[in-house]
Symmetry: C2
Subunit: 180 residues, 2 copies
DNA sequence: ACCCTACGTGTCATTTTTGACATGTCAATC
DNA sequence: GATTGACATGTCAAAAATGACACGTAGGGT
């Protein structure tokens, strides 16, 4: 149950609306690499956090839009979550990686086809992330965009690792095909 | 809902028991990097797969242990899942990465402390994976251990990416601290 | 003026996952 | 011979996530 912490983290850098939070977690780098969630989980969770006093309502905007900000209690909760508990066994769901592992059940030619597709995909994604990264200057830890900067940088590196792994796997499969 | 596919994938390389499957998904490389699950989800899911005829029961062993094997139908299901649907927006939950992103809410010194802890952790994990990897020879795609080999190789690379990202982040934070 | 799209927030039933509890077996150590 | 720990499989209530549905608004283009 890390969704509340993801929301607190996003709100810790700057106040946002439920819509913006949902978008980041559904399509943005944070959703892609760390914790994906749809708006149907976000809105109820925001109300729970509001009830616990970990976030505060900052009034209405244009279309019933409500902006939330983290409270001191919320910040304390987040900090203790980060500092206190150890780097133990954590929740993990990574569908793309699962699919890559499963590739060994296909015959080598098909597996290679899929791996090439994966490479194209991470290349496109990495290019987009690089563009995003270029927009943040060297604003890293505080500043309203430090969060996105860290995420984009991680994304580029994670994609690169996948890319190189896929190339390695293609090589292995090719080798296996020619030496039966 | 990729758990059934994870199980089919594991069973595609060699028959296993629910206990072995649970262990791999709870503590092994597949669980760590691709899809974590406890035995409480695995056993019911196995019975569902059995009901659908995607896996078959291969009789009992020592302590009521039951070994399952993938069926032809199961293999077809798995292959079409891998080949047919596109590399679209997928499920993603990665608690360690989420925590790293959130680090920007701590003050730089605390963030650096946590990052060093992360580095130690991935180093230890990578060392273990390298040991595991060494045990599989160059048996890659078929063979009973191709699966684990792919997973271990990916794990080493993913850990390496995290390691380098953490080093980069420490550098950024240090820079920020000295230039206020 | 009209239409379309993105904005914006929500509910609710169904499906999935988690965590606590339950139960028994085999092998090795003391 | 007793105890301990890993092996082995399950149930069930509670919590969380998903997907379908629902409703209204502001702005841009034609």
């Amino acid at each position: 149950m890390s969704l509340p912490h993801a929301l607190l983290g996003l709100l810790a850098t700057e106040p946002r609306s439920g819509y913006e939070l949902s978008k980041e977690l559904a399509e943005g780098p944070v959703g892609r690499f760390a914790w994906k969630a749809g708006h149907t989980s976000v809105y109820p969770e925001l109300n729970r956090l509001l009830g616990k006093g970990l976030i505060a309502d900052r009034g209405e905007g244009p279309r019933g839009r409500r902006t939330y900000a983290i409270t001191d209690a919320g910040r304390r909760e987040l900090q203790s979550w980060l500092m206190d508990d150890p780097v133990g066994p954590s929740k993990m769901r990574n569908e793309p990686v699962l699919r890559m592992f499963l590739l060994s059940v296909l015959d080598p030619d098909d597996a290679i086809t899929v791996l090439r597709r994966v490479i194209d995909h991470v290349d496109a994604e990495a290019a987009e992330l690089r563009r995003a990264r270029a927009q943040y200057g060297d604003t890293v830890p505080p500043g309203p965009e430090g969060f996105g900067h860290l995420a984009a940088e991680y994304g580029v590196r994670a994609d690169q690792a996948v890319r190189e792994w896929a190339l390695w796997a293609i090589d292995q499969l090719g080798r296996h095909r020619s030496t039966p």
